[in-house]
Structure formats: C-alpha cells, structure tokens
C-alpha cells in the first residue's frame, strides 16, 4: 500500500488536509500528482486556532506543505483492487529505469574524463588535501 496510491484512489472523495502551518482544509480531492500537490473542490478552510472559517470553491495546495491527510475508511478497500495493476506498472518502470541507467554512466564518464587528472586513479582528492604544501 503506497501512500500516493491511496491518495490517487481517494480522488472524488471528501478528505481533511492539515498543512504544516496548522490550517486544515476540508474538501473533495479533484486530483493529485507524484509530489502530493493536490486540487480540492468545495473547500472549507479552518484557521490554525479553529476560530475562523472560509469557504472556497476550489484550491491548489503544494504537496511539500502538507502535514497529513485524513481519508475516508472505505477508500482503503478500493486500493487493493488497483494494487495488482499498479504493481504491473511498477515492473515495467523498473525495466525502463534499467535502460536509462545504462545510458547514464556514459555521460558521467565523459564528464569525469574532462575534469579528472590522469594518474590519480580517476578520482580527484579533496581540494583541501592538495592545499597544504
């Protein structure tokens, strides 16, 4: 059960989001992405002290500012059905990741070759070690 899988499954469900600044947002989840950025609709915002309230038709919240999200219990049962599909997707991703990684060392090698001095075993000693002379 991945946190973001649960969140994706919770789309169109009501939820409570608390931000790091203490404000809470009650609304229906419209969409989310891999950074946990979310769109809510029909939102009620509650101030940190719980003494002020605002209604907003929709809002976008940056994922990195979220403390936690409370999601209806029934959503967890819906994730399991999707879990199989998600795993398949993950396997494919793994395969592609391998391909990417095969490409990367070449680029790194070129970069290293440009900066690395010959006869130093490929790795530059830390700068400070060169200094005391």
């Amino acid at each position: 059960m991945l946190p973001l899988s649960l969140l994706r499954t919770a789309q169109n469900h009501p939820m409570l989001v608390e931000l790091k600044n203490g404000e809470t947002y009650n609304g229906h989840l419209v969409s989310c992405d891999n950074w946990m950025n979310i769109n809510l609709r029909e939102v009620i915002c509650t101030s940190r002290d719980g003494d002020k309230f605002w209604r907003m038709p929709e809002c976008y919240i940056r994922g990195s500012t979220i403390k936690y999200l409370r999601i209806p219990d029934e959503v967890i049962d819906m994730v399991k059905e999707e879990a199989v599909v998600k795993n398949r997707g993950r396997d494919m991703k793994g395969g592609r990741g391998g391909q990417n990684q095969r490409n990367r060392p070449a680029a790194r090698g070129n970069f290293g070759g440009r900066t690395g001095k010959p006869g130093q075993g490929g790795r530059n000693p830390p700068f400070q070690k060169q200094k005391p002379k």
Partner: protein
C-alpha cells in the same frame, strides 16, 4: 540533437515524462482574475494573475498583502497593504485559490460538536 532512431527508442519514455510533468493545476483559467496566494512562513496576498510558469512562479498585479498579527505570523488582521506588481517565487507558494467565491463563514462544523 537526437537522431530519429534515438527519438523512436525514447518515445515511450518521453510520453511518460510528459504525462508526469503535466501540472495538475491549470493556471490559465485564472489569468486576468484575482487569486489568493498563501506563502510559506505565513504571508498571504491577492492579486490579478498576469502570468505564471511551470515552477509556479507567478506574476500578480494590483497585489494586496494581508498583514498579520505581530505576535502570531499565521494570524491575519484586518490590515492590508498594497504591493502593486509582484513576482511570487514558486517554491514559497503554499496555496492558490480564486478570490471569486472565497468568503469568510461561520463555523460550519458546529452541529458536529
């Protein structure tokens, strides 16, 4: 300068990348409209959205900052100050919502207490 062969090889990956990069937020619907923005650290402002980029940097015009309680950086007061034309740094944007339809309300959860 990728050759056509490279392109076809990477196409599926590129499409995936595109899908992932596509923002879930379509700010174009807010262009020339007044939006409310909350920032990391507690500042809040509203202004007419003039422009934006994928990093959530914003250009706001006729911007008003909502001033806060000097003792509590997260508590707003009635005071405001005019900032005019502003570029908002995307990394510090916490929340965006349209001003149109945003209203202060009484406790809607009171029946639950």
């Amino acid at each position: 300068m990728a050759s056509s062969g490279d392109k076809s090889k990477n196409q599926s990956g590129d499409q995936k990348e595109k899908k992932r990069k596509e923002s879930i937020l379509d700010l174009s619907k807010y262009l020339e409209k007044t939006i409310r923005v909350k920032f990391a650290g507690g500042r809040e402002a509203s202004g007419i959205l003039k422009g934006y980029d994928p990093l959530l940097n914003l250009v706001l015009d006729n911007t008003i900052e909502y001033l806060r309680d000097p003792d509590d950086p997260y508590k707003l007061t009635e005071d405001t100050r005019a900032l005019g034309l502003v570029v908002c740094r995307g990394t510090s944007v916490v929340l965006i919502c349209p001003m149109d339809g945003m209203e202060s309300i009484q406790n809607p959860f009171i029946s639950q207490d």
